[in-house]
Amino acid sequence: MAAEEDWALTQSASQVQRNLERLLPAQVDQKVSELVQYLLVKDQKKIPIKRADILKNVIKDYKGVYSEIIKRAGRTLQQVFGLQVMEIDAKHHIYILVSNLPRLEGENLKQDDCTAKLGLLMVILSFLFMKGNAAKESAVWEMLRRLRVDPGVRHEVFGDVKKLVTEEFVRQKYLEYNRIPHTDPPEFEFQWGARAAKETSKMQILRFVAKVPACWEGWRGELKEGEGSDLGGA
């Protein structure tokens, strides 16, 4: 899978143009629509989108014009939806959609607070899962800062982000926040909490993470063992 991805992405601009000329405009437009819808649907569920999945589920035989399709889809999302495709993991090429509309002061138009919090939680859980189920506190904050969620700054939807993540999510057993032994000054790390391991939302993350490349083979094996099994010991 990685080899195919590489091939698609190392096509030069002129090569892509040539590939484009061999296709009917309607075919390419269709792929752009499919990608736009795919990105919107995934993002609505707050599941980060993997480039590998995009190639496999949407682009398929159009890999030779991948860069053009993604460019047009990104443009559509900006112009029509005011959304921007943002990479949250440069190594594994994972994306989310972020609104580029001016931020609001007041309450009225926000998404349901619960949905927003769940979204934040999902991003953190996904990140943790990819890091082998645990990550240093500093790594999590760094990742969130790239999404314009800064633990040091009061967020208009989440409020006190640090408190939400280290207290509320922990109290609700979605996350564990543990001190790393033998660290001075004390450092902390996040792990999946017991509730995260049992809730439905976890299945959504697992479904997408289950397609992660071979280096996660161990995890994939664990997933198959029991239906809807939790991560046990996570």
């Binding site: 437009d29 752009v32 629509s33 499919e34 736009v36 819808q37 795919y38 919107l40 649907v41 995934k42 609505q44 569920k45 589920n57 559509t76 112009q79 029509v80 939806f81 005011g82 959304l83 609104s99 509309l101 001016p102 609001l104 009225n108 138009l109 998404q111 349901d112 949905t115 439905t200 299945m203 959504q204 479904r207 239906e227 809807g228």
Partner: protein
């Protein structure tokens, strides 16, 4: 009428998407707020025009903000739907093959049924007979829960029917796939999943449509064959039903060409 997308339109679209489906009065408030925040021209009765601007830009991508009616309460709802007829596209990336098969089979039962509902027992039996991969009871129950949460199905007293959002999203798909098996409302001519049916001539009506049509009639008769209408007439107490007749009441799309009096 301006046809440019503004941030007001974009914000409306983003919020609508995050809700999945939005009731008429909420949409009207959202319209007002979006216009206010982004200093876009606003007229309180021009929501449909506002939405048309968005739809013009969505058209090349086979998407549309559609207006529909809830079969439960007769209220107007707005949802962003995809216009592809041939697949259940929006669901395909969220559900596995056997889950989709279960959903399709459940939809079969719902559409063919008298009252537009499938019992959970029935659905669990279907789960056991799936061709792609059998599903155990517990798994099927979870899938049903997901389908309800995602607003493809709605549940009432252990029975399942199609959610308003699902009907709006899949109307074309259902009409072309089920053809003569589906019922259309005799009053508004749109797809009817839940309906009251005349026992003599077989025509059907949405419950809210029946409520409006037979309102205050002491002896309701079938509009088609004139036989006594044997069902309890639902009460319509919604403020929406008192809208002046000039308000377009189309089921499909938001074009204002031609209004229909109900």
């Amino acid at each position: 009428m301006a046809t440019q997308m503004t941030d007001g339109h974009r914000r409306f679209l983003q919020v609508l998407m995050s809700h999945g489906i939005m009731e008429g009065s909420v949409a009207r408030t959202l319209h007002r707020d979006c216009c206010e925040i982004h200093k876009v021209y606003y007229a309180h009765d021009k929501l449909d025009d506002f939405i048309n601007v968005v739809n013009i830009h969505l058209q090349p991508f086979f998407m549309q903000i559609r207006k529909g009616m809830s079969e439960d309460d007769g209220r107007t709802y707005y949802a962003l739907v995809n216009l592809a007829e041939t697949e259940i596209t929006k669901m395909a990336s969220d559900y596995t093959e056997n889950e989709l098969e279960l959903f399709r089979k459940t939809m079969d039962v719902i559409i063919v049924s008298e009252n537009g509902f499938a019992s959970s027992t029935n659905i669990l039996n279907l789960a056991d007979q799936l061709k792609t991969k059998k599903m155990k009871k517990k798994e099927a129950e979870q899938v049903l829960q997901n389908l309800v949460q995602d607003k493809w199905l709605s549940e009432r007293d252990g029975e399942y029917t199609l959610h308003t959002r699902c009907i709006m999203e899949m109307e074309q798909y259902i009409l072309s796939n089920y053809q003569d098996l589906v019922r259309k409302c005799n009053i508004c001519h749109s797809l009817a999943i839940q309906s009251q049916v005349c026992e003599t001539c077989g025509i059907g009506m949405h419950l809210p449509c029946a409520g409006k049509y037979f309102k205050a009639q002491t002896e309701p008769h079938c509009p088609h064959c004139n036989e006594f209408w044997p069902h309890e007439i639902p009460e319509i107490n919604r403020p929406d039903s008192q809208l002046p007749s000039s308000a377009p009441r189309e089921r499909r799309g938001t074009s204002s060409s031609g209004t229909r009096r109900r």
